[in-house]
Amino acid sequence: MALSARLLALRRSPVLLKLPPYLSALCILVGLGWLLILPLNEYSRQTYISENAILPGQVHTYFGGSEHNVFRAYRQEVYGLSERSDHERIAGLGSVMREQGLKVANQSYSWHVAGEEISGTNVSGLLKGPRADATEAMVLMAAWRNFEGEINYSGVALALTLARYFKRWSIWSKDILVLISEDSTYGPEAWVSAYHTTSIVPTASRNISSLPIKAGALQGAVALDYPAGPWGQRFDKLDIAYDGINGALPNLDLFNTAVQVASSQMGIGCSLHNLKDHSDSYKDRLKTISKGLITQSVGHATGPHSAFMPYHVDAITLKTIGDGWHDEMTLGRTTESLFRSINNLLEHLHQSFFFYVLMNTNRFVSIGNYLPAAMIIAGSFSISALALWVQSGKPTPSEGTKPMRPGEKRKQPGMTVVKDGKNVALVPKEDLEVVERKMFIPAAVVLGVHLAGFIPLYLLNHVDRSNLPYTFITLTAATVILPQYLARHFLSNLPPQQICTIQSLSLLLLGATLSTLSTLNFSLAFLLGLLCSPLSFVRPLPSLRFSLEQSTRYVSVDDAAGIAANLAVVGPISVMFVAVSPPVVLWVVKGMFFGSAGAEGMLVEMARGWVAQGVWTGAVIWGVWWPVWVVGGSVLWSGCWRRPADDE
């Protein structure tokens, strides 16, 4: 009893009511700091193979000898095909696979995005495992053009040579599908989506033909990216691309197997995110983490493997980088060993982690250790929201806090007697009152702004490529103006209590969304949390309006000085606030990563991601971040338009 009474009394503790902003700031700092300590040895772990069945690198690989001659011939063949028309190329690839005894099928696909067409044809061949029962399959991929757009001569030739070599083995317990997709993003996407559907109904933006040849449930996919030309090019390291659409990751066992086979069995060094020289220092680890954080938060495909992740098919891309002494046969043997390991699987990959952060090819952090970083940041918004909620329930502060005006009369604040056991206290009445919160308008405002977020989302995904930059410029301007407009014509007329409620609801929604999102896409939730962090501290700015009272028709000098002082506060804060608005941040991203392609390139990529790849980062930006920022801005600037005397 005593405890609960004490806790109830604590509710009204002035200290407690002042605490939340500091608590929010602390949460954000702790969240950021949390991420920064992850690279330390104490907070990360060495990777290990969790699934016993895989047995990586335990088999002897035989790919070599005369296969090298065959490989060179296929590479020449691929080079020859690259100089012919698309039609001839597809027929040529098909005939090579048919000669090997594979069942060949073509699949055409097209998407209409931003007024453009993405189209192509995938060629896939089915190698029936001699003793397999068609229930499981694995995929060997080599996109015709790799992720950078270069022709994948050696990769395609190697996939064909391996198909021929694999055909002679009778050990396969799973079928092997050889996929030569037209490009590295949309070809695999079309293929894997058709693999899991009966027939994809053509729409205005999409036309994917169904797959005539299918095998069983896909257990794993490995893509080869080796764009060396017809005369070959030795490589230094294997870069393993692993992140999928929307930041989904393949099972860590598959990644570990690839690393183990490449580095232990074949002696090829592995790298992540193209970081060739990784000294395993704190700095390099953090760099790898942040690169992963960025690609995963963007959520776009990073290679042919990415499209497989949403279908719960674990996939990786082996990409050759650098100039070294490993040749195509070493890569072939790595792939052979990797396929033997996948072939060993008795169950779908499930033993190891699906949620992890990699900082080196052999160190990772598991979800239990990194998730708190995003959760704590998301929690900071919930704390602010709760504080604002409590504040919105309190009556408007009495005039005692403001300077007295001449001739003004004030009532005595009502006092009430509070007894707690023997103690008796006189407490201002308003401290104990809870004002009824008017919820309709705040809820309608928050909901309305969130719904309005679908307008930019729709526009940016449906406007033609040439008009995209103009749309975006308009959108940026509209984004900056919209909160001003809402503040001037709407929020400034509302009582402060309702403004408080609006902000509370908006932050509550943000906190809940981010904590949910962090379990699905940690990187996106974490970065969005950091970008939204100023929203916790937004309070209405001081007024910039003259107090036009009924009696006086002149501007007092005091007023003018006060406004000038306020302006000095409002200006920098407004600029800072605009700097963290979604469009401005996107402009910065454009400047950093899309140097040559410009805004148009970035926006087309985003539209493609949304329409063709099923990336929901766009929806999160325009449906979560943008509305929250607009509401925050409206609250911020509502103070500027408020007349000082309106407070009555």
Partner: protein
């Protein structure tokens, strides 16, 4: 050429045998090279016994072990299949024996049984499970269906019932085990049912290493009664093994079965390619027919004939080889081999007590597309796939293609496990040329009965029909998951029976054609099984700690040492020990400064006696201290 002709051979012999003696045994091997260096081999072993002898437990060639099971379980007709791999219809054409001796992947069993079928069925599957070393005992009520249209008895069951004066109707039960992996442990009991047990005759070729390295193989046991009009019945058992071997793979020596890359000199290069060079070689497909022989493909030659009883007088041939007439075939045997040659087919009779081998050398045939390689088109192409992803819902998609210029009627049978719950309202037959004529549907009961769905469909000429339906995945109880839960759950193959029609009957194919789709793997929502394990360990620890300490407090009574009463027996024991200690103390000379058995440092001048005794009998008189 038709594979069905090989069945007519034993069938044609039947009346002959029947007239002479009703106990009979014949065997036959049918060999046929297929495209892509494959070889089809079909073994047929047929034995018969008169029904009267069967009823009185008198057997000659009919396997006794199986007969007794059939008698005990009142099974009139039995069909058992073990299958592995896929028949590739596009490359290999129509199925051997019109698919009548095939099963779905794994094990399939169907039988016509007497009225009290449930109990008999359970006995049957358990007995067969033991006999064939297969997990047939897992065919429980949840995996058993009663198809209506898909199967017809091959024997004359009605006449049999009359002969036996049996009452009541015979019932058909059907069960499938798609997860069962067929292997040598199933082959050995299969061979043991044969009179020559794999020691002689064509069965001597059946070697587990080769059979289970095949691209496709199926073993079948079929028992059927054949009754003549006079009321005499015989019981026939036909055991068949069909397989398609990859000639190249089968010919690898057993000592080095690893398919290492061939030396470059053994690879034929396409020299027309511009880039062809000493280190660049575009491989060319092997020209002509690959050379092979029975002993190299099967690992050994045939060890004489398995001629039993009336074998001497028989006119029949044991081996049929379907190759074009221009193909060279050498017979390797110590004795002269009776043979007959017709266009596209050669037949041989096995010698008694001498090895027999066939050798077909590598040969470039001019017209490889004619003759034996003119593949017969199958009546129907079928494929079935699961669609969708995620743990909640999925869909089934079956594609049926009729390549012929006439309409065909088919029966499509699905028996689904109970945890796959089809939404029947989504069942749809799409495609231009499909019409559903009849549907038999038995809804599932959770954990008791699976879905049974049978459709009678007419497919228009040269058209494709799609059967689709959605389903929901049930959530199992955690004890119901198998040890490899994350592998997924096998869904048995769909059985498709193509009914004969006027057009096919005109061509003399007046029988049903059966084909089965591949089985499927259904991923079900699977819990993380380490979680319950962790929870169990944690809760056990907490309970053990909490319960242990509380229990301890509750049942233990705390008393002062002096208050503990001395029991009569304990007193005697203590006195004895005390006496012993006293004596030992004396023997050790004054008992000064000595250590006792109890260990520990003892103060000078004290001797401690049996610490534990002192604890219990603390008040028992003077303690355990000896006076100094």
């Amino acid at each position: 050429m038709r594979l069905s002709t090989l069945l007519t051979l034993p069938a044609a012999l039947l009346p002959l045998i029947y007239a002479k003696e009703q106990h009979s045994y014949t065997e036959h091997l049918h060999l046929k090279p297929l495209p892509d260096n494959s070889l089809y081999a079909g073994f047929t072993f047929t034995s018969t016994t008169p029904y009267t002898a069967y009823a009185s437990n008198h057997f000659r060639y009919f396997p006794r072990s199986l007969a007794q099971i059939l008698q005990y379980t009142h099974t009139a007709e039995l069909h058992l299949r073990f299958a592995l791999g896929r028949w590739d219809e596009e490359s290999w054409g129509s199925r051997p024996r019109r698919g009548s001796r095939e099963g779905g992947n794994g094990v399939e069993l169907w039988a016509w049984m007497d009225a009290d079928a449930e109990e008999g069925w359970s006995d049957l599957v358990n007995s067969l499970s033991g006999l064939f070393c297969a997990s047939l005992n897992f065919v429980d009520s949840g995996k058993t269906t009663r198809p209506v249209l898909s199967f017809e008895p091959e024997g004359t069951l009605e006449e049999l019932q009359e002969t036996r004066n049996g009452t009541g109707e015979l019932r058909l039960l059907h069960g499938m085990l798609p997860h069962e992996v067929v292997c040598t442990e199933n082959l050995t009991p299969f061979l043991k049912l044969l009179p020559c047990k794999g020691k002689a005759g064509i069965s001597s070729l059946l070697d587990g290493h080769k059979l289970f390295d095949a691209n496709w193989q199926t073993m079948a046991v079929d028992v059927r009664p054949i009754c003549s009009t006079g009321g005499d019945c015989i019981l026939e058992i036909q055991q068949t093994v069909d397989m398609v071997l990859d000639i190249e793979r089968s010919m690898r020596p057993r000592e080095s079965p690893i398919p290492r890359p061939l030396p470059i000199k053994d690879i034929t290069c396409d020299e027309t390619k511009g880039y062809n060079g000493h280190d660049t070689c575009y491989p060319e497909g092997p020209g002509g027919e690959m050379g092979w022989s029975l002993s190299s493909v099967f690992g050994r030659p045939i060890r004489g004939s398995c001629a039993l009883g009336g074998g001497e007088e028989e006119e029949g041939f044991d081996i049929t080889l379907k190759v074009p007439s221009e193909r060279t075939v050498e017979v390797i045997s110590e004795t002269a081999i009776p043979q007959s040659t017709s266009s596209g087919s050669r037949a041989y009779r096995l010698p008694k007590d001498a090895n027999f081998d066939l050798d077909l050398p590598h040969q470039a045939l001019e017209s490889s597309s004619s003759g034996a390689f003119a593949l017969e088109q199958p009546p129907l192409y079928a494929s079935r796939q699961l669609t969708g992803h995620g743990a909640e819902r999925g869909g089934m998609h079956t594609l049926l293609r009729n390549p012929h210029p006439y309409a065909q009627r088919i029966v499509y049978l699905e028996s689904l496990p109970w945890f796959l719950r089809p939404y029947m309202h989504t069942l749809e037959l799409s495609g231009a040329g499909g019409k559903m004529e009849k549907m038999f549907y038995t809804p599932l009961l959770d954990r008791q009965r699976g879905t049974h769905l049978e459709l009678l469909i007419e497919i228009q000429p040269r058209s494709t029909v799609e059967i689709t339906y959605d389903f929901e995945k049930a959530i199992l109880r955690y004890t119901e998951y198998p040890p490899d839960a994350n592998r997924g759950f096998d869904i048995p193959a769909a059985v498709i029976r193509v009914l004969p029609n006027n057009a096919t009957q005109d061509q003399g194919q007046g029988r049903d054609y059966y084909l089965r789709t591949t089985s499927l793997l259904l991923p079900l929502p699977t819990p993380d099984f380490s979680m319950p394990y962790n929870v169990i360990i944690l809760t056990s620890t907490v309970i053990a700690l909490g319960f242990g300490s509380i229990f301890n407090l509750l049942v233990r009574s705390f008393v002062l040492v002096e208050e503990v009463p001395v029991g009569a027996l304990a007193g005697v024991v203590w006195r004895l020990k005390d006496g012993v200690a006293r004596v030992r103390g004396m023997l050790k000379g004054g008992g000064v400064g000595k250590e006792d058995d109890g260990g520990g440092v003892v103060k000078k001048g004290e001797v401690v006696v049996g610490g534990e005794v002192r604890k219990v009998n603390g008040g028992g008189g003077g303690g355990g201290k000896k006076d100094t």
